[in-house]
C-alpha cells in the first residue's frame, strides 16, 4: 500500500479513493509525468512522494502537478493518481496551505477578471496591441464575478486569508 501508515486522514482518503490500494508502485506513471523532472527518480517517483508523506496535504510538491491526466490514462490498474492529487490540493486550499502564486492568481481572477495582473502595465500592453491593429483592453465584468464568488463562498475565504 503506497499511502503512509502514519497519515492521520488515510482512512478518509482511502474511502474516497479506494483504488489507491491497488497501486503496485509499478512506476509506469513516472514514464509520462512531467513533474519527474523536478528532482524525482525511478525509485522515488513523484506519485510515490505524494502518496507516502505523513501529511500529504502539506506537501508543497502537490502544487507542481499540471493536471495533464497522463498518469491516469497510462495507469494499468486505473488508480488515477490525479484525482487524489486534486483532492489533496482541494483540502490544502481549504486549510490555507496553498502557495502565494495560487492565491494571488485566484485573487486576480476575482478582482480583475484576468488571470494575472495587467492594470499596472496596461499602457504598454495597449501600445503593443495598437501596433498590431487591435483594440485596447479594458475592465472586465468584475461585478458579476464578485456576485458569483460571493455566493460560492470563495470571496469570504479569500478575505479570511488576507486578514491572517
Amino acid at each position: 500500500m503506497p499511502i503512509s501508515l502514519e497519515y492521520k486522514a488515510k482512512n478518509e482518503l482511502l474511502q474516497k479513493f479506494p483504488k489507491i490500494e491497488t497501486c503496485l508502485k509499478c512506476n509506469t506513471c513516472a514514464l509520462v509525468c512531467p513533474v519527474q523532472y523536478a528532482g524525482f527518480s525511478p525509485t522515488n517517483t513523484y506519485v510515490n512522494n505524494i502518496f507516502s508523506t505523513q501529511e500529504p496535504e502539506k506537501n508543497p510538491n502537490i502544487w507542481l502537478c499540471a493536471s495533464c491526466h497522463k498518469c491516469e490514462e497510462i495507469c494499468p490498474y486505473e488508480v488515477k493518481p490525479l484525482e487524489v492529487i486534486e483532492a489533496l490540493k482541494d483540502e490544502a486550499f481549504e486549510k490555507g496551505y496553498a502557495p502565494e502564486a495560487i492565491r494571488e492568481e485566484i485573487n486576480q481572477v476575482l478582482t480583475t477578471g484576468y488571470a494575472f495582473p495587467i492594470f499596472q502595465s496596461l499602457h504598454f500592453i495597449n501600445r503593443e496591441r495598437e501596433r498590431r491593429g487591435l483594440k485596447p483592453l479594458g475592465e472586465r465584468k468584475v461585478g458579476e464575478i464578485k456576485k458569483i464568488a460571493g455566493k460560492t463562498g470563495l470571496e469570504n475565504k479569500m478575505a479570511g486569508w488576507k486578514k491572517k
Binding site: 513533474v35 507542481l64 495560487i102 492568481e105 481572477v109 483592453l137 458579476e144 458569483i148 460560492t152
Partner: protein, 296 residues
C-alpha cells in the same frame, strides 16, 4: 454566408501575445470566418490554479462565459488549450447533470445570465478541420513550407481526459502533424512528443525542473532535425519561447528553435511575411529558419 464565432481570447493571448490574436483575426477572416469579440467574456477561469481549488466558482464563472456566447447566438472558438479545457469541462458537467446545472444557474442568476447548453466550444484547430476543411486549407496554401521540418507539440489540456476533450489520442496525437503536412512541411518524428511544456512546473514551484524538461524536449526536437516547433496554446508558446531564452542563459545548450503558433505557420504558407505574423515579438529567432521562409 460568412460563419461567425464568438472569439474567446482568454487572458494570455490578448495581454502577452497580441500578435497571435492579430494573426488569428487575419487568417480566419481570409478563410471566410468572422471572429466576434464579446466584451462580456472574463477569464475562463484558468483550470490548474482556479479550477482545482474551488470547483463551484470555476464551473459557475465558466457557465457565465458560455451563457454570454449563447445569448449572442454564437458558438465559441478558443486559441488556448486551457480555455478549451475549462469551457468543455463545464459544458460536459452541466449538460450531464441537471442538479448541478440548476445549482450553478442559481449561483449565476444575480448576474442576469442563465446557462442553457446551446453554445458549442471549439479549439481553433477543430474549426480549421471541421468548418474550413483540409481541401480549402490546401488551396489556400500558396507558398508551401516544403523546406521546413517542424516538431509538433499539441500540449496536454486539449488531449486529456480524452472522453471529455474528444480531440486526439493523448499518447499518439497526429492531427497537428497532418495539419503541418497540409502546409507542405515535414513533421519531425521526435521522442517525448507528448511530454508537457513545463509551464505549471515553472509557475508553481520548480524552475529548475522546468529547465531540465525543456532541455530534454528541445534536445529531442533538435535530434530529429527540426527547424522550428509549432504549438496551439499560448502557455506552451511562452514556455518554449521565453522559457527557452531564459534557459539558454543557464547551463543548457543553445537550441535556437523558433516557436510558431500553428496559425502563424498557416499565415506564412498563405503568403504573409514574417513581419505580418508578428515574428518580431519572438524571443528565439534563428536566421537559418528565416532564410528557409524567405526561400519558400
Amino acid at each position: 454566408m460568412t460563419k461567425k464565432y464568438a472569439f474567446f481570447r482568454g487572458c494570455f493571448v490578448p495581454v502577452r501575445l497580441p500578435h497571435i490574436e492579430a494573426v488569428a483575426q487575419k487568417v480566419f477572416s481570409d478563410m471566410g470566418i468572422s471572429l466576434v469579440n464579446l466584451d462580456d467574456f472574463t477569464c475562463c477561469p484558468e483550470p490548474v490554479g482556479v479550477g482545482i481549488n474551488d470547483k463551484m466558482t470555476w464551473l459557475s464563472i465558466a457557465a457565465r462565459n458560455l451563457a454570454v456566447a449563447e445569448e449572442n447566438g454564437l458558438d465559441i472558438i478558443t486559441v488556448c488549450n486551457g480555455c478549451t479545457y475549462t469551457l468543455r469541462h463545464a459544458s460536459h458537467a452541466l449538460n450531464s447533470n441537471k442538479q448541478l446545472r440548476d445549482k450553478v444557474n442559481g449561483i449565476i442568476s444575480d448576474t442576469g445570465h442563465a446557462y442553457k447548453g446551446n453554445a458549442k466550444v471549439s479549439h481553433f484547430l477543430e474549426v480549421l478541420m471541421n468548418d474550413i476543411g483540409t481541401r480549402k486549407m490546401k488551396s489556400a496554401v500558396k507558398y508551401p513550407l516544403s523546406k521546413l521540418t517542424i516538431a509538433t507539440h499539441t500540449g496536454c489540456h486539449i488531449l486529456s481526459p480524452k472522453e471529455i476533450m474528444e480531440f486526439d489520442n493523448p499518447f499518439d496525437p497526429t492531427t497537428l502533424d497532418e495539419l503541418v503536412m497540409i502546409l507542405g512541411a515535414t513533421p519531425a518524428d521526435y521522442d517525448k512528443k507528448t511530454l508537457c511544456c513545463g509551464w505549471a512546473l515553472m509557475t508553481y514551484g520548480s524552475r529548475e525542473g522546468a529547465y531540465a524538461l525543456l532541455k530534454d524536449k528541445l534536445g529531442n526536437m533538435k535530434l530529429a532535425q527540426a527547424d522550428c516547433l509549432t504549438v496551439v496554446c499560448p502557455q506552451c508558446f511562452y514556455q518554449f519561447d521565453m522559457g527557452q531564452w531564459i534557459a539558454s542563459r543557464k547551463d543548457i545548450p543553445q537550441y535556437n528553435l523558433p516557436v510558431l503558433f500553428y496559425l502563424q505557420l498557416l499565415g506564412l504558407a498563405m503568403g504573409y511575411n514574417l513581419q505580418e505574423i508578428g515574428y518580431d515579438s519572438h524571443k528565439v529567432k534563428n536566421p537559418e529558419f528565416e532564410n528557409k521562409i524567405k526561400m519558400r
